[in-house]
Symmetry: C2
Subunit: 499 residues, 2 copies
């Protein structure tokens, strides 16, 4: 891909006036970006000394600084390495109407990591998929992604390094790594080529630019920016979202709630022993460096809070975070809806407990008209991809649906209204939601049917009896974590034997 | 203070039943905290092995995990050290109706830092003031702060360390630092005592607890929690906010706007030379490790955006952040109003440019009824304290008020309405604000009068002519940064000569 792209370059023409016009266009388009609330990501990759910094610097001179943000991406820090790879990249996506400019980006975790951090072929492949999925999900949400790869030849690079080293003020910019990369230029060329090929998608195409001539570089950069932004603002947006490829037929009526009860005595004794076990497991988990997501969905008053409380009571408070999810605030609403969840993902050895989750996208959001039905429909597959990305990077996901019937809900609502200490828990919104029970039911069934994947299956909990439900939740967590810890121990053992 | 407090302890009584009752009360109070939207900070300090972790662990067993968050505070990381000291602590304050529990806190930056990081007496004193100001500002905003110091004797500590070291599972918890601290117990005792004395204030009193007996400890902890929370929920809140002790008489009418103009030619040539200078200064600034805050306030259409754009164009995009401030979102509104600004403060060598600021508190907020006038009145001093805290920790603050007259505003509003590219910049809200010009004027004068401090004076810019205003802004920034860099160089030289 690199070779072919480079053949088309030309240096024989003076592009100065045309560039000037394009710069003005770019500056003007910025206002349209703000008005039409288009979120834009511009990323710069390329060889060392190919001029990424200079191009970024020129670009922003045309922009209102309140509407863009520049980030530099280095190799991940030790803390960043403890999170799923894409977290640090997700966190930088702009709000609608704003621009993020990236001087190096997630592509540092691909070719460079492959060449220098010794990641396996399988891991490289996994990362390619993760990046393509990320860019496609952003595109499907209306983001415009403009990707530049700035190219120079081996000789040109060597010359530029030499020039930088001659000057006291710039000598520090040429590192040992840079020299090594220049020496092994042809291997890097192959690896970059492979990466560009594999991530050149209809929703995020690469623009490869020969930067040996500065004026021609500027012309090409602005020309690309103006044409891609103009297109995004004026041509109908094209989504590439595939449908979920996973379906299990599921009916809520198949959940047998009868007889799923526990006496208070039995509950107390089971609770005591489970809590002891889980405290022990949590410290093992920490040492095994396994990150865990435990999430709760269920009808209003199904007992999510009570179950979370019993679960949390077994855990070391420094090792978990409980995250209640309410309606999105403006800065959340103005970004891809998965953004706010990425920010709360656990690092290795830690647990995040979500009280309501990203599944709001396929339940309350279409019902309340917050998200159009067609758009919500895309979320089943997006969520599967999201969870897959997490489990692939080692996160254990435990999903609970707490099921009660309509009579039980009514009983609990009334109980809450009559209890001065619980009255605050029930609002007119709860009653309104209750009226929509029949609208929710098919969406819940569809959700469980489409998002019960092998890596992250739903656990449906019979919750008409709170005591029974809590014990089943704790037991499920215990079993799942026990299993994960022993699998991890086996895998670690295998790895160390190989060495 | 320590000795006196410890005399009152008692071990002769069985507190079990009373503690049980208090635990229930605490659990119930949590709902009232949520309902009445009381923000609560509970912090645990004390000797190593005094049981801070155990107390925190017990406390949270009674709480709904969705309403609290536990943080452990260690010595500041290298990155944290590059920010003003209180930033990492400000960031952890809870929203209204929620509880933050701190296992060690900002007090680690006091006594422990004094004993182990060799901070000077002057710096120690400064930090005491910073902490007291922080706690008073939180109190004045309605926060409840409960501070525990868990005490054990030298012998008891030695015994507990010994016990921990006997067990394989807990041996790692006793570090070399712990042993050293036990050896020098009496010196630490004196330092803790001094710290407790100096930070025992009417708005955040210390509760010193002898933890030699576990049951008595629990009783005292719950007793304190229940009584302090009950008080906070039921007794009228007492504010300790002092008035601003700084006043310069200032009238907007004294700003002479006439003749403050520049021709386009003069502007272009001045701009060119200033931008060159500032680019050079920015890289010096980075090497001098000076953090900078540049803030813009001014009438609607006074030209803040244009000035910021020209300023930003001179800077390395990796070294600054431009932060536009809009009306607070819910998670911001639910915390102390300074919270969201602390999060954007620059680290050493970096610049934050604020487009509108914390001064909204004393202009738009009282006028629009977002904050009651009496409460807004407290902000003058709070802001002076805030800015003082920043300048004391080395931040350079440059404040701009862009002044135009009413006719010029009208001209610009109309111009914007008639320009298809600028039309989006003008809304009905702008016209509404314009009607309140006469309400704003005295508040602006009061603001400049009360918050023009020696460390952070206002720069009033005559802005009827945009070109003139931009040049004056850039020139002011240049002069101020030049001065700061040479001062820093002198101070650094002095320091290195001392060594």
């Amino acid at each position: 891909m690199l070779e072919k792209a480079l053949k088309n370059s030309s240096k024989s023409f003076d592009f100065k006036d045309m560039t000037k016009q394009l710069e003005m266009d770019f500056s003007r388009l910025q206002q349209e970006i703000a008005e039409k609330k288009l979120p834009v990501i511009i990323l710069l990759e390329g060889w060392g000394a190919s001029g990424k910094g200079a191009v970024a610097g020129e670009m922003i001179k045309m922009l209102d600084p309140r509407f863009f943000r520049v980030y530099t991406t280095a190799a991940p820090s030790d803390t960043e390495k403890r999170f799923p790879m894409m977290k640090r990249h997700w966190e930088k996506i702009p709000e609608k109407g704003k621009i993020t400019i990236l001087d190096r980006s997630w592509y540092q975790d691909l070719a460079i990591a492959k060449m220098e951090s010794g990641i396996s072929d399988a891991e490289y492949k996994r990362r390619i998929t993760a990046v393509n999925t990320f860019e496609r999900q952003l595109n499907d949400d209306g983001y415009l992604i403009i990707k530049f790869f700035l190219h120079i030849s081996k000789d040109e690079q060597k010359k530029r390094f030499g020039k930088l080293r001659e000057d006291d003020a710039t000598r520090w910019r040429v590192t040992e790594t840079d020299k090594k990369r220049n020496k092994n230029y042809s291997e890097y060329f192959k690896q970059f080529d492979n990466m560009l090929e594999k991530t050149n998608t209809p929703y995020a195409q690469w623009r490869i630019i020969d930067t040996s001539d500065r004026k021609f570089t500027r012309f090409q950069v602005y020309n690309t920016l103006v044409s891609q932004i103009t297109n995004a603002l004026n041509i109908e947006h094209r989504s590439f979202a595939p449908e979920a490829d996973n379906f299990t037929d599921f009916k809520l009526s198949s959940v047998d709630l009868s007889g799923k009860t526990l006496t208070r005595d039995k509950y107390e004794s089971k609770l005591k022993s489970l809590q002891k076990d889980l405290a022990r497991i949590h410290s093992k988990l920490y040492n095994s460096k396994i990150p865990v997501v435990i999430l709760f969905e269920g009808w209003d008053a199904a007992g999510k809070g009570g179950a979370i409380k019993r679960l949390a009571a077994t855990l070391d408070p420094r090792g978990y975070e409980a995250v209640p999810i309410a309606a999105p605030e403006l800065h959340e609403f103005n970004r891809h809806y998965l953004w706010r969840f990425w920010g709360h993902l656990p690092k290795t050895g830690h647990i995040t407990i979500f009280d309501r989750t990203w599944y709001g996208r396929v339940m309350v959001e279409p019902i309340e008209g917050i998200t159009p039905r067609e758009r919500a429909e895309q979320a089943y597959n997006e969520i599967n991809e999201f969870e897959r990305e997490l489990t692939d990077s080692g996160v254990v996901i435990i999903k609970f649906w707490l099921q009660i019937d309509k009579d039980e809900q009514l009983r609990r609502f009334k109980e809450r209204e009559n209890d001065p200490f619980k009255k605050w828990k029930i609002t007119s919104e709860d009653w309104r939601n209750r009226e929509k029970w029949d609208e929710y039911e098919p969406l819940i069934e569809r959700m469980i049917g489409l998002t019960s994947t092998a890596a992250a299956p739903w656990n449906v909990i019979e919750a008409n009896d709170k005591l029974f439900a809590r014990i089943k939740v704790l037991k499920t967590v215990e079993d799942r974590l026990d299993e994960a810890i022993s699998q991890k121990a086996k895998a670690d053992k295998k790895k160390s034997e190989k060495k």
